[in-house]
């Protein structure tokens, strides 16, 4: 067997198709600069690790379990999907599929139901990435007999023993995740990469809105630009603001109102422009713009 003496990182980078995934990430996702930087760093780390493995410098499979923290609608799931693809291209998972679960999918209803249910999910996720949304709900300190504890034990064991079979990503709000990690030290030590997702700025949300409309073949009318910006600013003040998800919902309602407006025009010929343009009025009727900022209780 001939020994490989050198390794061209740039070539491996291009050959593995990792570059494509990273480029796609940069192009498709607006904002999230710290997240992108972290993913680039992780990708280069893993690539270098592969190179070291080729030259027999390291034999240890690095721990790849991650935690994604951030407010709702900041793109945790989307990034997780890209992450699965990335790890697949780098050769750290064999299949690269993403299994999305929450507490309900893991915890059973009765005594003895939890372990088989959790194992079922774990088996499905093997060879890919297991994404546990709102992972902190697994641990309920107020109820001693909560079955979540059982899930945590199985999960910890599999995360340790099957490190090269699956990657676990835990996601949730930053503060609750912090509490979760401090009460489950086993997790903290097994999760190597912590990535924090910042909230989007108003400008970024505006850009996202334009992109979402474009995906559905709608355009924003010239007269609607200011009102959309105003809408975004006002929406942020509302309770339960969920970043990009709130914007998507807002746009869906605007599209609904546009359809209604067109329908009410009655017996007129509509062209493609009429059918795809979201106007000032479609936002003006929104409940969000009429409401006053909520008073703090």
């Amino acid at each position: 067997m001939s020994e490989i003496k050198s390794f061209n990182l740039q070539k491996a980078f291009e050959a593995s198709g990792v570059k494509e995934v990273l480029d796609e990430l940069d192009r498709d996702l607006i904002g999230l600069l710290p997240v992108k930087t972290r993913i680039h760093e992780t990708a280069s780390l893993l690539l270098v690790n592969k190179a070291r493995e080729e030259l027999n410098l390291s034999k240890i499979q690095p721990s790849l379990h991650m935690s994604f923290t951030g407010n709702p609608g900041t793109g945790k799931t989307t990034v997780a999907m890209r992450m699965a693809k990335l790890l697949y291209r780098l050769g750290y998972v064999r299949k690269g599929h993403l299994v999305l679960v929450t507490r309900d999918d893991l915890v059973g209803q009765y005594i003895g139901h939890t372990a088989p249910k959790t194992k079922e999910i774990l088996k499905k996720a093997m060879g890919g990435v297991l994404f546990i949304d709102e992972a902190y709900y697994l641990y309920r300190p107020e109820n001693e007999r909560d079955y979540g504890q059982e899930v945590i034990e199985i999960l910890l064991q599999v995360m340790e023993d099957h490190r090269d079979d699956l990657v676990v990503i835990l996601a949730g709000y930053a503060d609750k995740m912090d509490k979760f990690f401090s009460s489950n030290p086993g997790f903290r030590s097994r999760v190597a990469h912590h990535i924090d997702f910042p909230d989007y700025s108003d400008d970024e949300l505006f850009e996202i809105a334009i992109k979402m409309l474009k995906e559905q073949n709608y355009v924003l009318g010239d007269n609607a630009v200011t009102i959309l910006k105003e809408y975004i600013a006002k929406r942020r003040e509302q309770p339960h603001f969920a970043n990009a998800r709130s914007i998507r919902n807002g746009l869906d309602r605007a599209i609904l109102r546009q359809a209604n407006r067109l329908f009410n025009k009655g017996d007129v010929e509509l062209n493609a422009k009429d059918l795809s343009e979201i106007d000032y009025e479609d936002f003006a009727l929104s409940r969000v713009l009429k409401s006053k900022p909520p008073t703090q209780p």
Binding site: R94, K95, K123, K124, M126, G127, G128, H162
Partner: protein, 142 residues
């Protein structure tokens, strides 16, 4: 005596690595892999006990190997374990591949030939496993 049933049984026992590759082949063909075990090695004993349910919706062999190891932990010392891959394509709906992945830790005592005298001088032949002379809980133990 080495029991030869199912695919690969005349070859040396498969290693875990080889088993993994066979499982992956089954999964890639969309067959559902099930784990079965028995301590009655008679060739006409077709229906073995199932370990859990056949596994659908699994993408990677590691998931099946995980269950297989769990089964080995419980039954590995004194049972045969086999994997069966079921093809649910319409018209097939049957096992496409089945092979032994675990043998009892003690040597199989083999089979005895039983002669039954019937109707005058006629004789009927049948085989019987020595292991089944004992009750189920005592088979394949030193």
């Amino acid at each position: 005596m080495k029991i030869t049933q199912g695919t690969f049984s005349f070859l040396p026992d498969l290693t875990d690595e080889q088993i993994t590759k066979q499982i992956q082949y089954c999964i890639d063909n969309d067959w559902a892999v099930g784990i079965e075990f028995t301590n009655d090695p008679h060739p006409r004993n077709t229906y073995w006990e199932m370990w859990d349910l056949p596994m659908f919706d699994i993408r990677d062999a590691a998931g099946i190997l995980y269950e297989l190891n769990a089964c080995r932990k419980v039954y590995g010392d004194n049972h045969y374990i086999r994997l069966s891959a079921f093809d649910n394509t319409h018209g097939w709906e049957s096992i496409k591949l089945s092979f032994i992945v675990n043998r009892p830790k003690v040597e199989d005592p083999g089979f005895r030939l039983v002669r039954q005298e019937v109707d005058g001088r006629s004789i009927r032949y049948t085989t019987q496993a020595y292991s089944t002379d004992k009750p189920s809980s005592e088979r394949y133990r030193d």
